[in-house]
Amino acid sequence: MTTHYLVLSALLFAIGGVGVLVRRNAIVVFMCVELMLNACNLAFVTFARQHGNLEGQIIAFFVMIVAAAEVVVGLAIIVTIFRTRRSASVDDANLLKY
């Protein structure tokens, strides 16, 4: 059973990764990152049960805290950009290149 959970976690992680690559809306890109973090959490919880210690759950708990803080900062940055450019597309922000 553990393996199943892990494969699910890997799958979600990979889907999130692909989402980061193909979506242009910065918010959606960020949601995909959140999906990846969730996939990690699933792995942590699964391993916690596998090993019979609570560390994994603790880590998942901290990841949630971190993610919450990250979301606040990230969305603040995205909103700032949107205010300036009237666009939340990550492709529009490409003044810096080469």
């Binding site: 990764g17 980061v20 690559l21 193909v22 242009r24 890109v29 990550v90 492709d91 080469y98």
Partner: protein, 636 residues
């Protein structure tokens, strides 16, 4: 060959104070540069004083060194531990041995004379103080170059003289040609420096140290391939600094600098640093015959090229610069021969330091008299107007062409004979070079001092002030007697032996060997031909008008044609070839490589699209690759 003597640690005595030779001029430069305009009034005097003081210290050190037994004349003065302990142990120290002290005496001695001369030469320049500051800086750096007991110190000095040379060539920055020349010298030298740095790095990795002592003592234990690599890399550095083929192009342009600079840096001292490097690294070349062979070939090629260039130049300083190249070619050739040649190389270097400096300063004196005119076709018949200059220049001239018993005779013939024994082909080429030397130096001498005056109307030639003529006189003494003093009875060879090793058998000096006679004969031909063309005959180009032209036209044209066909054309052709090679070959290689990298870079930077998603892609693909690589490595 006998191995060089062990290095002795030294403390106390005047030798312990030998760092003063470097520190004094450096202090002078610092005071003059930092002091600014306040020091304008007495700056030049300070500069001279520092240089002289340095010379005095050097002389005392020299005699103290002589006081030791021959094999104890290698003294290391530790200054400070640059990096004590650890894997990289660099102690900064000074190595006092016959080789370095010879250089020190030459640098400080000739340097002081040129300092003195410059007081007069630069008297009207508003920036004279700065000039002296740079001169002092140069002397300090050059002394560090020859005195350091490790390659790193040498490198620092090497860069220091490069900097001083750059500053001095471009001293008259307001002239675009001077600025361009300075830049050219700087850039060409960087190519050489790359070689030197590479060489030092390989030495580092091979021997784990960069101090001369252990490196040279253990050189024989390294593989021949490594030694060849080191040798060639060092040779590249030497070529850059000493204006040897293929990195010679900057020297002619460097004549844009004030004449004392040309005399000191681009004739007597700095350009000989390459010879010093090769001689100092002798054991490396002994272990790498291929590299040594390349050194000799470079030497011969340069001595011929320099001589041919000398024949084609009307600018007196450029002709002398060509001659410098050529003479350093002789030194390189000798240095490539191994211990047999070292003494001759250094002896010729010292003799050359005297007579070439004397001639350059003489040329400066002429220019001083002729409103800074440098075109020899506008000189002529100056001998009666400037007796002292004429006489000193004449002695220098006789010395360089190898007139019997003058300096060049001893040293150059020594090189030619040693080469003959080593390789007849190179030997005969060197003989031909001597002949051409005879021709172009005579041409130069006759065009300048003899024949009919071809002056511009406003020229009023006059003898230079005493402050300029005295250095000339002193230098010409050196150019007359220096060679005999050094070579007779293998005196110099014995003196240098503790530093560079002793050849298996000492050369016997035979005044009437085949090579000696041949050289004299060839030189005589060259001189005679020059006398016909430029001494006795009217020098063309100061076009004699009207009916005169028809009378002498054919003959003049004939002479010109020969001159052109024999020397100028090949000279130009060679120059062109050299330029072509420079542009397409060396520069081409460098540029090509740069273009390749630049092109790669230009294309590759497009990868940085500015799209954050592309970056994320590289991260994601990179992660997949990393995981994949781990799988492969881990054999999963």
């Amino acid at each position: 060959m006998e191995t060089a003597a062990e290095i002795v640690q030294h403390s106390g005595g005047v030798i312990g104070l030998s760092w003063l030779t470097i520190a004094l001029p450096l202090l002078g430069a610092a005071i003059l540069l930092l002091g600014g305009r306040r020091t304008d009034r007495w700056g030049h005097l300070l500069g001279v004083a520092m240089s002289l003081a340095s010379f005095v210290v050097a002389v005392i050190v020299f005699f103290e060194l002589l006081g030791f037994g021959a094999d104890e004349r290698r003294r290391v003065v530790e200054l400070y531990d640059f990096l004590p302990g650890g894997t990289l142990d660099v102690k900064m120290g000074l190595l006092l041995d016959p080789l370095s002290i010879s250089f020190v005496l030459l640098i400080t001695g000739v340097g002081s004379l040129i300092h003195i001369y410059s007081i007069g030469y630069m008297a009207h320049d508003p920036n004279r103080r700065r000039f002296f500051a740079y001169l002092n800086l140069f002397v300090a750096a050059m002394l560090l170059l020859v005195l350091a007991d490790n390659y790193l110190g040498l490198y620092v000095g090497w860069e220091g003289v490069g900097l001083a040379s750059y500053l001095l060539i471009g001293f008259w920055q307001h002239k675009p040609s001077a600025a361009a020349a300075a830049k050219k010298a700087f850039i060409v030298n960087r190519v050489g420096d790359m070689g030197l740095a590479l060489g030092i790095f390989v030495i580092f990795t091979t021997f784990g140290t960069i101090a001369y002592g252990p490196v040279l003592a253990n050189a024989s234990q390294a593989s021949q391939g490594t030694l060849t690599l080191i040798g060639l890399a060092l040779l590249l550095g030497a070529c850059g600094k000493s204006a040897q083929l293929p990195l010679q192009s900057w020297l002619l342009d460097a004549m844009e600098g004030p004449t004392p600079v040309s005399a000191l840096i681009h004739a007597a001292t700095m350009v000989t640093a390459g010879v010093y490097l090769v001689v100092r690294s002798g054991p490396i070349y002994i272990g790498a015959p291929t590299a040594a062979l390349v050194v000799t070939i470079v030497g011969v090629a340069t001595l011929l090229a320099g001589a041919i260039i000398g024949t084609a130049k009307d600018d007196i300083k450029k002709a002398l610069a060509g001659s410098t190249m050529s003479q350093i070619g002789y030194m390189m050739l000798a240095a490539g021969l191994g211990p047999v040649g070292y003494a001759f190389a250094i002896a010729h270097l010292i003799a050359h330091g005297f007579f070439k400096a004397s001639m350059f300063l003489g040329a400066g004196s002429v220019m001083h008299a002729m409103n800074d005119e440098v075109d020899m076709r506008k000189f002529g018949g100056l001998a009666p107007k400037m007796r002292i200059t004429w006489a000193t220049f004449g002695l220098g001239y006789l010395a360089i062409i190898g007139f019997p018993l003058l300096s060049g005779y001893w040293t150059k013939d020594g090189i030619i004979e040693a080469t003959m024994e080593h390789s007849p082909i190179l030997g005969w080429l060197a003989v031909i070079g001597a002949g051409i030397t005879g021709f172009y130096m005579s041409r130069l001498f006759f065009m300048t001092f003899h024949g009919k005056p071809r002056w511009e109307k406003d020229a009023h030639p006059h003898e230079s002030p005493a402050v300029m003529t005295w250095p000339l006189i002193l230098l010409s003494i050196g150019s007359v007697f220096g060679g005999a003093f050094l070579i007779m009875g293998n005196r110099f060879m014995e003196f240098l032996a503790p530093a560079v090793g002793r050849p298996k058998e000492l050369p016997h000096f035979a005044p009437f060997s085949v090579a000696g006679v041949a050289t004299l004969a060839v030189v005589a031909v060259g001189v005679a031909y020059a006398w016909l063309k430029y001494g006795r005959a009217e020098v063309p180009a100061v076009a004699p008008r009207g009916s005169f032209l028809t009378v002498f036209a054919r003959r003049d044209l004939y002479g010109d044609a020969i001159n052109e066909a024999l020397f100028m054309r090949p000279g130009q052709w060679l120059t062109r070839l050299a330029v072509f090679f420079d542009n397409r070959g060396v520069d081409g290689l460098v540029n090509g490589l740069a273009a390749l990298i630049g092109g790669t870079s230009g294309r590759l930077r497009r990868v940085q699209t500015g799209f954050v998603r592309s970056y994320a892609m590289s991260i994601f693909l990179g992660a997949a690759l990393l995981v994949g690589a781990w799988f492969v490595v881990g054999n999963l």
